[in-house]
Amino acid sequence: MGRMSAEFGLPGPTVLRRLAKAAHWLSTPLLPEDYLGLLDPLWSAEELRGRVEGVYRETADAATLVIRPGRGWSAHRPGQWVRIGVDIQGRRHWRTYSLSSPPERPDGCFTITVKAIPDGLVSNHLARRTAPGTIVRLAGPEGEFVVPEPPPPRLLFLTAGSGITPVMAILSSLLAGETPTGTGRSSAEASPAGAEAVHPKWPPVQERRALPDVVLVHSAPTPQDVIFGERLRHLAARSPYLRLYERHTRSAGRLRPADLAGLCPDWAQRSVWACGPAAMLDEVVAHWTGPEDRLHIEHFRPTVLTSGGEGGRVRFTKTGREADADGVTPLLTVGEDTGVLMPSGCRMGICHSCVGRLRSGRVRDLRTGQVHGEAGDLIQTCVSAAAGPIEIEL
């Protein structure tokens, strides 16, 4: 690449890198991109960002966001998730969402599909109150809920609710060569970004592999609640390789593992990918009789640690020390008593010399009694106590 561009007299990546390094002498103590960001926030390489290019309603409470990632984004594998940082009321919140588009979108964008959950601050904001043009922070893609290459000959996807989102990306990619269709929205709402999202000529004809036999069993309360409903039905109608079974739980009741034998008699012989509520996943695991490595499970919401007025085990990840803490002793004191070199200052919550990054768990603000904290938050250790087990990067 470098040699080629040099032949044509264009600056190669090495030259550009040197230029960027030289520009740092002009921008110090900031980075050149801090100034370039005034023109286009997506030019930041230090902080991966994305711009919301379009928002499309999928159901009454779910929407697909088309996001153009900035410099530094690497293509995802279908089924993976992305961490997304959203500013709400001035504060940044990070959440994880499955990517609902296949990586082959020619416009370089990806989509996430967000279902607003009751009292969900971020999901409601994304699904209902986010406008095109919004800049978000990104991290990822990550995740192991992916189909290997080449795919196994027979697959079963078991999904419920928004659990369909990673599977939509997988299906789009698996069946891409066969059914050139849009992204995850109905034709009625087809967007400029989505209409030709999957390149019709991908993969090239000569590389086409034998398509696997796919069964999708998806649960949703009503037909209208099925995210990507029209698209899935369309796919299933066109493709001899995809069998779709929709379970409308409001009329037919919840799907039980026992029902599966009727819907997909060979389900234990298939490779299974399951994504949905914890109760459903637990049942699937309990009834699975096939080999363990053929069952793939994706949890959407990690079990949240419940916390009363009690403390918990505190782990200082950088120094590897641990201690039991009660719910009223500042983490700063806990660390010092355990022999951790804690940064500290005023010890009264004003100077912010003592902050440490929270890796997991929640803390109690000793000034207000309020329990707060998300992974990645910077915590003032001098005025915070453990509210349950926590890990802090100190």
């Binding site: 002498w25 002009l26 110090t28 103590p29 900031l30 801090d34 100034y35 005034l38 902080e47 500013d87 009321q89 001035g90 504060r91 940044r92 919140h93 200052g345 005023c346 009264m348 919550g349 004003i350 100077c351 912010h352 010399s353 902050v355 207000t368 990645g376 938050d377 910077l378």
Partner: protein
């Protein structure tokens, strides 16, 4: 007459609770508007800086030189005061944006942010105006309070205070090294050397940027660009020195003795911050250009509340002071600066006689009476 002798212990704690209430109200109401404010200031500052530097490239035209230098000086003032100082205080940490955070921010100053955060946020803001504890009283170089013992070296302080104003950022960098703590062994030589290397590295980058890289880039305009950058830096230094000296050094600001710290309550801490600080009156633009250090009292009461909120809470703090019959020192920039320089000149000479020890803790007084 100590300024708080009329208050009972309960009064002081009530005063503290009222201030806590203001603090909590502001914290609870932080949101979108505040975030937009700081991002707007940062964006304006960067555009001003870019604009100033571009204009300076055309500085063979005298008006371009003047405009470019003014824009750059303004940008540098905003960067140090309304942005740098306040971000490094953690005022914007609540946004959880690592790009605008006290632990990641670095500023356009000779002094590395980490060094400054320790000496300013911790030493100065915790021990505000306590003789022997707060190194900011005269910055270990000036006699700014009659309680400081006179020494012949202070005869030269009007002269070296002028120098300090011009090269303030370098003064702060050296001051933050706390060199005077080395002989007593309070600070190790090894630690100091490491900090010294950090300061030298920072100064090197700053000097290369303003006095070599940008002038070279300007080609034939090398000299005017260099002079423009120098002028902008000097203007920023003098402005910062002026505003900062008005914070604790004018007539009316009190100093305290170390015994006051023993068992100091939250209310007493608030009182000390109030009585040790002075405000400057001015317009909204003036407050922004001073980094809202013109609201020094509010800043010292609530050092980690976002600076854009100080103006809104100032009337409430003032009303509270009236209710408790406490001094709230505020005056114009000219008068406060005049007051500072009067002190610098007067205290260069020995005397005046010791004032009675300043405010003693009402709590202790109560005990003494009992």
């Amino acid at each position: 007459m100590p300024a708080t002798s009329h208050l009972t212990r309960a009064d002081v704690e009530e005063f503290g609770r009222e201030l806590d209430k203001i603090r909590e109200e502001v914290l609870a109401s932080l949101g979108e508007q505040d975030a937009r404010y700081i991002r707007g200031i940062i964006s304006t500052q960067r555009k001003l800086e870019l604009g100033g530097r571009v204009l300076l490239f055309a500085s063979w035209l005298p008006p371009a030189w003047a405009a470019g230098t003014a824009a750059l000086a303004t940008a540098k003032i905003l960067e140090n005061m309304e942005i740098g100082h306040n971000v490094l205080h953690g005022q914007w940490d609540w946004m959880r944006d690592p790009k605008i955070h006290s632990t990641t921010w670095e500023w356009d100053s000779a002094c590395p942010a980490d060094l400054w955060k320790h000496s300013h946020n911790f030493v100065h803001h915790t021990w505000t105006n306590v003789l022997g504890k707060d190194r900011d009283i005269g910055y270990s170089a000036l006699r700014i309070s009659p309680e400081q013992q006179w020494h012949p070296v202070y005869l030269a302080q009007p002269f070296y205070n002028t120098l300090l104003a011009l090269f303030f950022e370098y003064g702060i960098a050296i001051y933050d090294l706390e060199l005077e703590r080395i002989p007593s062994g309070q600070k190790s030589l090894k630690e100091t050397m490491a900090q010294l290397r950090a300061v030298a590295g920072k100064i090197q980058r700053q000097i290369i940027k303003d006095y070599i890289a940008f002038p070279l880039l300007a080609g034939p305009a090398f000299l005017p660009v260099l002079l423009g950058n120098l002028t902008a830096n000097l203007a920023r230094n003098v402005w910062a020195h002026t505003i900062i000296f008005c914070g604790h050094f004018p007539e009316g600001a009190e100093v305290f003795t170390e015994d006051r710290l023993q068992g100091e309550t939250r209310g007493e801490w608030y009182l000390r911050q109030l009585l040790g600080s002075c405000n400057i009156d001015g317009s909204r633009l003036f407050h922004i250009m001073s980094g809202n250090l013109s609201h020094q009292i509010e800043h010292h009461l609530f050092p980690d509340l976002p600076s854009n909120r100080y103006a809104e809470i100032a009337p409430r703090v003032r009303a509270l002071c009236e209710r408790f019959d406490l001094a709230y020192t505020s005056d114009s920039l000219a008068r406060q600066t005049g007051s500072v320089w009067k002190r610098v000149l007067r205290l260069a000479l020995p005397g005046p006689g010791q004032r009675p020890p300043a405010v003693t803790s009402p709590a202790r007084k109560l005990k003494a009476v009992a």
